[in-house]
Subunit: 146 residues, 4 copies
């Protein structure tokens, strides 16, 4: 039985993406098809003062937006993050993190999404918006699947 688009995306992140394994991130979709990226606390992502680096948080936010838009995208093609604006609101000190996205606007050429990241106590750690543009030259079929 052929895989659904959602299954392909889950496979792409949870089994293929090297950075997901390096960080220890995991992708799931909720019942509204919003991507959630979970990151159990990983000390290997701490900056020099002992909190999770903002760049790691940016990675969660970007992934949440990308996979939400990739699933929503109707075409056979691919998407790319072209732009990301983020606010880091609180330090994330030795805490699990999770990020989730919502689509603000789905357009012909691109989607705009909003992403939020919370710590283990449901404090909002970061907020972002981003632009995810549609590409035509990278069909899913290019992906090697197990």
């Amino acid at each position: 039985m052929p895989k659904s688009k959602k299954e392909k995306l889950l496979h792409l992140f949870n089994n293929v993406a090297r950075i997901a394994q390096t960080f220890g991130m995991r992708l799931s979709f909720d019942d509204q098809d919003r991507a959630t990226i979970s990151l159990p606390y990983n000390p290997d992502l701490d900056h020099g003062l002992g909190c999770t680096h903002g760049g790691a948080i940016a990675t969660l936010l970007d992934n949440a937006g990308w996979f939400t838009c990739a699933l929503a995208h109707r075409g056979d093609g691919w998407i790319a993050t072209s732009q990301l604006s983020l606010h880091l609101l609180l330090p994330a000190e030795k805490t699990d993190l999770r990020a989730r996205a919502e689509i603000i606007k789905s357009g012909k050429r691109q989607d705009v999404a909003e992403m939020r990241c919370w710590d283990a106590n449901d404090n909002l750690v970061a907020h972002a918006s981003g632009t995810f543009i549609y590409l035509e030259n990278l069909p899913f079929e290019k992906l090697k699947e197990s």
Copy 2:
């Protein structure tokens, strides 16, 4: 002999920051005191389609800005990235990367800096601007130094 601020910052990134070791990033300052972050190609930071993840590039950009502003900051205190806006311009496929920052405006409460990231062929891969606010409660002395 006590360490200079520059030596402390180099130590903080190159010896203390766990994420720097995880990524394989290294900090240096040029003769204009601009921080440069170098990242030799690391396949463990690839996304599912085989290029360096945008979140890893965001990490380079953020670090370049943070360390440039931290060195320029006159006070004894600390700084924090409060905001980052970035454009991802080209895919970074199996290439070394380096990011560098320049201060746009140094203010009483915060600095604004601009950051650029290039690949091994000097193609501009990403561009960003960010806000780095001054904090008072985290003096350098809190840092454990070897």
Copy 3:
């Protein structure tokens, strides 16, 4: 009877701010103290292709965030927009517009807010986030009041 902070802010925008009169914008607060800026269609703000200029929309978004944060701010001082990130989602063609803000994070040094702008048919025309920093040197008393 002395004016409340809310009355002072309404006066500041609706009676003092020259740009509010030039544009024809009006400020109100809803029952959750979120600032709303209304702009009846004004052809004098059209760009060369006959839609309301994105800079006018940015002005609505900025005002909505600024006045929401100014009202929420506990101190006697003042605030300033230090940073704004916006997505223009749809052209606004000969339509009334309204923008509204919500605070994402209220901090010691600054607030971060999210702003949205809709047209007369409730289409989301633009989305933004911004940073509003606290200043200490510009008390309300500096304002000439009628």
Copy 4:
């Protein structure tokens, strides 16, 4: 003799755009084809505390980027500002302003540009970056020309 693209763009802003007349802005191109927008001090654009409103500055920045990218764009079509990130660095108090753009990356689907705005004393008042996407449905010919 048919007008060049540059002449058409100058005409579009300096003669057609209503907001340019409302603000008193004027477009020119320098010898590197970078758009410059000049705004002699206009008290009708002051906010309630007597400085030029940040939304007016955003308008200058947006225009500088838009016209620089519109001139550089090879196709017959049109462009639209899809995203803008700006830092307001200094208050602009009763001063002339000018904004200028430079293209950071010219792509197949969109351009990314950087914009700066200075006051009459050459102080950098604001810095921005933006995304200008290509459209196909709005050819120049739609423009009524005198």
